[in-house]
């Protein structure tokens, strides 16, 4: 049995992973909740966020705030791309068979990941940690990099902000209404088309932001998109597709199962994640905190 401070460090590393997963999975869950589409391209938006952040840092050089500009710029760029894709292509597939929508998002994965390869090549890229967060602190005998601590704090902050928008603001009410009954909402005079575009952009923004923020911690490589989409997918399935706090819970569970699974059963940690997902789907197909679809 490993000692307590080691277990604590392990759980913190799981928590860091969970916050990234939450950022990415919340966008996936939002799109599913409102648009009823499983967006495979969401992982690709995350990858594009990472590459764009790298690119902007390259342009701006090193400065005290360049990383933050790069992260926001990358997320905004990805959001714009998402908006264009939704407005001009995706919107034509609403009401068609689910298979077509699913395959369209997969086509986006194929196209955009190759475009990224054309622009940035296959060599791995990296971004250095932002100024001021390069050190590490010691908590209960465990050493945690400042940047990880920042991510652990940022995750709940974004969750709360997101929750506030969804629950307390007018636009959030529209989004929730669209998830329940789009026809009635349209009949009440809300521009549902524009709302969908907005939701898609917001989700893409979160995905892009996740990619940009992970760039100082992991190498940016082709293929990171198909890997992360499976992880995000597991998170939303465990928590409940379309459920906001479910996604948060799913991310926490995923992070802890993965980081402790690696500790105790190093070879079957990935397996345990997928087994957990299958178990949830069998017992509660709509996820731990989700609601059954009509």
């Amino acid at each position: 049995m490993p000692d307590l401070s080691f277990a604590f460090a392990q759980s913190l590393s799981g928590l860091t992973a969970a916050m990234f997963l939450f950022l990415i999975a919340s966008g996936l869950s939002l799109i599913f909740g409102v648009l009823r589409v499983l967006n495979f391209a969401h992982g690709t938006f995350y990858m594009l966020g990472a590459y764009s952040a790298y690119q902007i840092v390259q342009w701006l050089g090193t400065g005290p705030i360049t990383f933050w500009i790069a992260a926001l710029g990358a997320a905004t760029g990805v959001a714009l791309l998402g908006g264009i894709v939704e407005r001009f292509l995706f919107q034509r597939l609403y009401g068609k068979e689910e298979l077509y929508q699913l395959l369209f998002t997969y086509a986006l994965v194929l196209i955009l990941s190759d475009v990224a390869k054309i622009i940035w090549g296959t060599q791995q890229k990296s971004v250095s940690r932002p100024a001021g967060l390069t050190g590490a602190v010691s908590v209960f005998g465990a050493t945690i990099p400042d940047y990880n601590l920042f991510i652990i704090l940022l995750g709940p902050a974004i969750a709360l902000g997101f929750w506030y928008v969804l629950q307390r603001m007018r636009v959030g009410r529209f989004i929730r209404a669209a998830a329940l009954d789009r026809e009635t909402l349209g009949a009440l005079g809300v521009n549902v088309r524009a709302l969908y575009t907005g939701v898609f952009m917001l989700a893409s923004f979160l995905g892009g932001l996740g990619g940009a923020l992970i760039s100082p911690m992991r190498a940016i490589v082709p293929g990171m998109d198909t890997e992360v989409i499976v992880e995000a997918f597991v998170v939303v399935v465990i928590g409940g597709l379309g459920s906001f706090w479910g996604t948060f819970l799913g991310a926490l569970i995923y992070g802890q199962v993965l980081s402790f699974g690696i500790l105790f059963f190093p070879r079957f940690s990935i397996f345990s994640i997928f087994a957990l997902m299958a178990a949830v789907l069998i017992i509660r197909p709509w996820g731990l905190l989700g609601r059954p679809l009509k």
Binding site: L38, L102, S113, I270, F271, F274, A278, P285
Partner: protein, 323 residues
């Protein structure tokens, strides 16, 4: 007429190695195996209306079964090949039991989850599957008797890879014939009924879940057989056989060919693999081209090639009548 042309295609396919090009034989072999894989998926997606996003799991299980039996234990092909179908079918029975309880998007997700479990096991279970490195150097079936015949009749002298192509062709032909029989049987008709209207099928007393599970097992078994052949053809079995991107590749083939028709997916396999071979010699950006083809397909020809050709045929044959 409809019963005769597949036989003609089969006979023509037997003459591919006679063209003397190793490349064409290789391509034809690839196409034939994928044709079986895609057709098995079509039984689910096209005929029963169940969108599986994890069909690669059974392909992978079949590939590992045949590969393991032939390489590690030395079992002859004639036993190792049906074993692939058997084991894949068995797994499909267990996984399918849970999957058919869910509907639409949840069904697709659970099939994907099971496929990822299979992938994770193949990826990590080093003792049996070789883990990340996979299982290279799967032996060819024993063709010694054919070589002895060839020593007497020189016109039958071919390379081992070409003998394997003939064997593949024969096996796939038998499988497709069986699948065709299944689709045309009362069981197959009932699957189509379920696709069109599951509630109504339930009302007339059909056990919808049991039929869906039946289709799931049959589709999984045939995907396993395709995988068994593919492992030998590929000279190795690797974990990515069961990865989710493989499942979407075979879905694209099925869609490209046309889901509503029996031979559409096989046509999709032919077109996609041929295009792939043509394009990779010009550019490494095959996924970009594939994605673009897929977008065009979804927006312009949702019925696939077979759907488009059939539509054109109907329009052309109707015109003289209306004039």
């Amino acid at each position: 007429m409809t019963a005769r042309w597949p036989v003609l295609v089969l006979i023509a396919a037997f003459f591919v190695p006679a063209l003397g090009s190793r490349y064409y034989t290789f391509l034809a072999n690839d196409v034939v195996i994928w044709a079986l894989f895609a057709t098995s998926l079509n039984l689910l997606v096209g005929y029963t209306g169940l969108v599986s996003f994890g069909h690669a799991a059974y392909f992978g299980i079949g590939a590992y079964t045949t590969g393991f039996l032939m390489k590690k234990i030395g079992v002859p092909f004639l036993l190792a090949f049906p074993a692939a179908g058997l084991l894949a079918g068995l797994f499909a029975l267990v996984f399918g039991f849970f999957c058919v309880r869910l509907t639409r998007i949840y069904f697709a997700m659970l099939t994907l989850a099971f496929a990822q479990i299979v992938w994770a096991i193949c990826f990590k279970w080093n003792e049996v599957t070789g883990g990340e490195q996979g299982m290279p150097e799967i032996p060819y079936p024993d063709f010694a008797w054919l070589e002895r015949v060839a020593a007497v009749v020189p016109s039958l002298g071919y390379r081992t890879s070409e003998y394997f192509y003939f064997l593949t062709l024969l096996m796939v032909a038998i499988c497709l014939w069986l699948l065709r029989r299944i689709v045309g049987s009362p069981f197959g008709r009932m699957l189509t009924t379920i696709r069109e209207n599951p509630e109504r099928a339930e009302f007339i007393g059909v056990n919808v879940r049991r039929y869906e599970l039946g289709a799931f097992v049959i589709a999984g078994a045939f995907a396993g057989l395709a995988g068994g052949l593919f492992g030998i053809f590929n000279r190795g079995v690797f974990p990515d056989f069961a990865y989710w991107t493989k499942s979407s590749e075979v879905l694209i083939m099925t869609l490209l060919g046309g889901m509503g028709t029996f031979f559409g997916p096989a046509l999709g396999a032919l077109v996609l693999l041929w295009l792939n071979q043509q394009i990779v010699s010009y550019t490494q950006y095959w996924p970009l081209i594939l994605g673009t083809i897929l977008v065009v397909l979804l927006f312009v020809f949702p019925g696939g090639i077979a759907g488009a050709v059939l539509g054109l045929w109907r329009r052309l044959s109707r015109r003289p009548a209306s004039a």
